[in-house]
Amino acid sequence: MNRERILLEHGGGGLLSHELVTEVFLPFFKNACLERLEDSAVVTLGDRKFCFTTDSYVIDPIFFPGGDIGSLAVHGTINDLSVCGGIPLMLSAGFILEEGFPMEDLKRITRSMAEAAKTAGVSIVTGDTKVVARGAADGLFINTSGIGRIEYPSPLSVESIQPGDAILVSGTIGDHGATVLCKRKELGLISEIRSDSAPLNGLVASILAASPNIHCMRDPTRGGLGAILAEIAGQSGLSLSIREAELPVREEVRGVCEILGFDPFFLANEGKVAIFCAAPDAERILDVLRNHEYGRDARIIGSVGERDGGGLILQTIIGGSRVVDLPLGELVPRIC
């Protein structure tokens, strides 16, 4: 593969994204905080801990069942803060608009951002707007950053994961990815699928209150649950064992994936969290999750094995096991 230039796969959340970060950005930006490659940076100011994150949204289509680019930009940043144990305090919003973008659409998106922020109990306190010439961008791009306060006593990070930990997911996987696929204007796919885009700060706060033994959380966005688990297996050197039969997937999502040849395990989520916790607390956390509106379909999906570099292992429905490698990015077919 030609790696002389940026490919679409470099943004796909797979192996090439990982290479871009570790071989281009990290060597230049070099600092301990960034090197942890968590969803947010954790910084200590005085005697208090805060987390800080940023994310850009460039999706097509910008309106989809269950949300739009605006609510997504707010939820995404709230969720990045939440999975680091942060209580979201405030957000910024930056807009890059293409000349000719309909004002009506901009208003609709802005309204949905405001509603999303209000529902989650955070405010957008600063912003920026740039307009670029027709063709220099596709409609609009949004960047959001956010700051959260951390009160959870133990550090939530890949380094805290222990052999024997239980692995949970807060609900069905692949809903957002499948929704976006169906709504791409080319695919005349009629389907009832909705994005799972949602703010997770409330859900996360309730499980953090329920157990002091949560070790790590991630929101499985780009690349899906499969990519973040493979990445964690790689970073930690721990083997992760996931039971395929336990992965919650909506029937409609499974149906769409069936035809398109996609695996929900690798499709994006925007309102889900993967949780690593001490095994004895798993059931209690599961109960708390299931009592929350965004966690009704939560499941214990697997466990953490030894520190033997075994990678991510899927126990398949038919009784075998398969190693799941970090995907390269969407466009390289696995066949051959």
Binding site: R184, E186, G188, G320, I335, C336
Partner: protein, 765 residues
């Protein structure tokens, strides 16, 4: 009569250990009253001979005339050394140090002499399932390290009893230095357990008899063999075979059977002289033979395919299990779906727990896994399908010397290869690199092959596909340099290397799928190749594979794609008139996927065209194992046919492009008119032969190259292979095919290694 005396030192390398080499040397030396010694060293077998000059002179020719059957000398050197006055000849213990240039022998099937003793009630090894001698028995699968000495094998923990020891030490005995020598008193033991690994307490004392009874009752047994476990069941018991399939999640993939003797094989399949030779050869592969309808084998053993895989007993245990008129046994690799074969007792008890009803175990450890080899016969020649037990790790001789290379192989049907000097060391079959067990097996095999080849190459070769496990592994392993090799170039160069070709050839790589240099999926490629570089001079016009991997498991998708290529947006109407109509609700979406390139990579694969035609004919719309649709299409093509379908060749950008749209048009028309599908399948094969030959001819005209090299999984199709060879030869091509390796991805590692070595030389490093 005081004749002049002389002393010489001989060094033999090749397959010279564990094959009765030293006893043979000893016998001839003592017969001729020569002094000196023989010993195994890591560099080979060292012999020093002293005696009257004339007799010393005659020693080597006399020995070469009496070479033990399994030995294979790669090289022998001779030098004169000073006299020591030795009058007697002895066998010395092995030397450990030095270069390890000695090849480990593959495992050898039980020999006639041992079989006779096994079945002789007077013999002390009567009924002993671990009987062996210097001509037969386990080799590769019991070694821990080289040189091949009892202390370096899993027999080390069985001290010889006095009688076995005297055989082992007596140069006149046929068990002289038979490293796995054993008897019921001192050797490994057999026992039977229930599904939980608890030894059976109430059964008769003879576990073999017990096993036979259970098999006759239709029970599934896990049997520890030479290179791993088998799952065995009565092949004539349909209900039992189905039960095995359900438990193993192996719904339709053909299962091999083992029969007691050649006559039993002839009852279930057509056995020609070439098949007979293969079945009886000491390698004892599974041989694919055309089934007889009335053979009595249960229908679900090998449903839908023309061949039955058959093998003869190759261990004394097998011989005892099948003795007399015992029914043929299904003997399939003891593994869970997609995993490599089980090796150890505890591993088998765990992994096969829900599959086997009983376990027949023993305490001779298997140190190296080795699956059964599979072969077929086309035009009187052997075509390997899987090269493993009986063949590996025997190196493949090459026509020249190459730098040291480690090639990590492909993703599926993987083997790995070490190139050293003028030898290529290929590992036993490893399998598909998707499971943790296969990856562990890959790393075991790498260590083993490095010890056998006694080198640790720092230059690595791997596939071009960035997502292959073996590609990522190459990046992780310590290396000086990595060469990434295009899949089909590797196919062609492996066949070239086996035939000693280094000049430019036209390579016909007819395959399932491989990653191309342009990022598309290749698989019907004409490559103008030498050992280091290639030029893509012809291929099938690419078509989309809607659903990517899914299209491999669901040939109806490929059929839809080819219809769309041929009929444009009209295709759903055409598809609706064929058996594809069941999928009509998905046509719109499939069409959009292809129109907008969503998960629909472009492919020029020929394997997928076979699948698609099988789907167009209604033979099979989805497959449960790779190659199933193509095999069933081949089975259907059994009427003689001369006239081919139309096709087009186009010339563009230095390439000859094959357009199969006219073929699809006529084929579909015939199908709609209700022409016999056997005729259509036959005509399709004839047409491909014609098209491939026409393309080769076109390319020869442009390039002046007249040597054609055939490789790729599609050449497992015997009609295609035979047809293409005949047609190309008729056109005056010199045609070359694989001689030792399979045409499928089992050959890739060798091609990768030779290409990497050649590029390394050309870079001048």
């Amino acid at each position: 009569m005081n004749e002049e005396r002389r002393r010489i030192r001989l060094l033999f390398s090749g397959i010279v250990q564990g094959v009765g080499f030293r006893p043979a040397i000893y016998r001839i030396a003592t017969e001729q009253n020569l002094g000196g010694f023989v010993l195994n060293s890591p560099a080979g077998v060292v012999v020093e001979i002293e005696g009257p000059a004339g007799q010393v002179e005659g020693f080597l020719p006399a020995f070469l005339d009496n070479l033990p059957p399994a030995a294979e000398i790669a090289d022998v050197s001779q030098e004169d050394i000073s006299l020591r006055g030795e009058r007697t000849f002895q066998i010395r213990s092995s030397r450990e140090e030095g270069d390890k240039d000695v090849l480990i022998s593959p495992d050898l099937s039980v020999c006639e002499n041992c079989l006779q003793e096994l079945k002789d009630p007077q013999d002390r090894r009567y009924g002993y399932p671990f009987i062996n001698c210097t001509d037969c028995g386990p080799r590769l699968t019991i070694i821990r390290d080289v040189p091949y000495d009892r202390g370096n094998t899993s027999m080390a923990c069985f001290p010889l009893c006095p009688q076995c020891r005297s055989e082992y030490q007596n140069p006149a005995d046929r068990r002289f230095h038979a490293e796995p020598n054993a008897c019921p008193l001192c050797g490994p033991k057999l026992w039977m357990t229930d599904e939980n690994g608890i030894p059976l307490a109430d059964g008769p004392p003879d576990p073999v008899k017990e096993a036979r009874n259970l098999l006759l009752e239709g029970k599934i047994l896990a049997i520890k063999g030479l290179g791993g476990f088998h799952l065995a069941v009565d092949a004539t018991n349909e209900e039992a075979v189905q039960r095995l399939r359900t438990r193993k999640y192996r719904e339709e993939k053909p299962l091999a059977v083992m029969v007691d003797h050649l006559d039993a094989a002839k009852r279930i399949a057509e056995i020609g002289p070439a098949e007979e030779r293969l079945l009886l050869s000491p390698q004892r592969p599974i041989v694919l033979c055309r089934k007889k309808l009335s053979g009595g084998i249960a229908p679900s053993v090998a449903p839908g395919v023309p061949d039955q895989g058959i093998m003869l007993p190759y261990t004394p245990l097998h011989a005892l299990l099948l003795e007399g008129n015992f029914p043929p046994l299904v003997m399939t690799s003891g593994n869970r779906v997609d995993e490599p074969i089980c090796q150890q007792n505890r591993e088998a008890l765990f992994r096969l727990k829900r599959i086997a009803d009983f376990f027949l175990l023993h305490n001779r450890d298997i140190l190296v896994r080795c699956d059964d080899s599979v072969a077929a016969v086309t035009k009187g020649n052997t075509v390997m399908i899987r090269r493993s037990r009986g063949y590996a790790p025997r190196p493949i001789p090459l026509h020249r010397t190459y730098p040291d290379i480690l090639a990590l192989g492909p993703q599926m049907k993987a083997t790995l290869c070490i190139l050293k000097g003028n030898q290529a060391y290929l590992s036993p079959h490893i399998g598909d690199m998707e499971t943790p067990e296969a990856r562990e097996f890959h790393s075991e095999s790498r260590n083993l092959m490095e010890r056998i080849a006694s080198c640790r190459p720092e230059v690595l070769a791997c596939d071009l596909h960035p997502a292959y496990y073996t590609t990522r592994l190459a990046e992780e392993l310590p290396h000086r340099e990595i060469f990434r090799v295009q899949h089909h170039h590797a196919h062609i160069v492996s066949a070239m290397a086996e035939n000693g070709l280094s000049e430019k050839v036209i390579g016909l790589a007819m395959d399932g799928t491989g990653y191309g240099t342009d990022g598309t999926v290749w698989g019907c490629e004409f490559l103008l190749s030498d050992e280091g570089e290639f030029q893509r001079v012809g291929h099938l016009e690419p078509y989309p594979l809607p659903g990517s991997d899914k299209a491999v498991r669901e040939p109806w998708r490929v059929a839809a794609s080819l219809l769309r290529e041929s009929y444009g947006q009209e295709w759903p109407n055409i598809a609706g008139r064929l058996s594809l109509q069941d999928y009509a609700p998905h046509f719109d979406l499939l069409n959009s996927m292809m129109d907008f390139g969503i998960n629909s990579p472009l492919a020029s694969s020929l394997g997928r065209v076979f699948d698609a035609v099988a789907a167009l004919l209604g033979i099979r719309h989805t497959v449960s194992y790779e190659g199933q649709a193509a095999m069933e299409l081949e089975a259907m093509a059994n009427v003689p046919y001369e006239k081919h379908y139309p096709f087009l060749l186009r010339y563009e950008d230095g390439r000859t492009l094959l357009d199969l749209r006219p073929l699809i048009h006529v084929l579909v028309q015939e199908r709609i008119y209700g022409i016999d599908p056997h005729k259509i399948a036959s005509r399709f094969h004839v047409s491909l032969v014609k098209a491939l030959t026409a393309m080769a001819g076109d390319i020869r005209e442009r390039t002046g190259v007249g040597k054609a090299v055939l490789s790729g999984g599609c050449f497992q199709n015997r009609i295609l292979l035979k047809g293409v060879i005949q047609a190309l030869e008729k056109e005056g091509f010199a045609v070359y095919t694989h001689r030792h390796l399979p045409p499928n991805d089992g050959c890739i590692a060798l091609g990768q290694a030779v290409i990497a070595a050649t590029r390394l030389e050309r870079n001048g490093s």
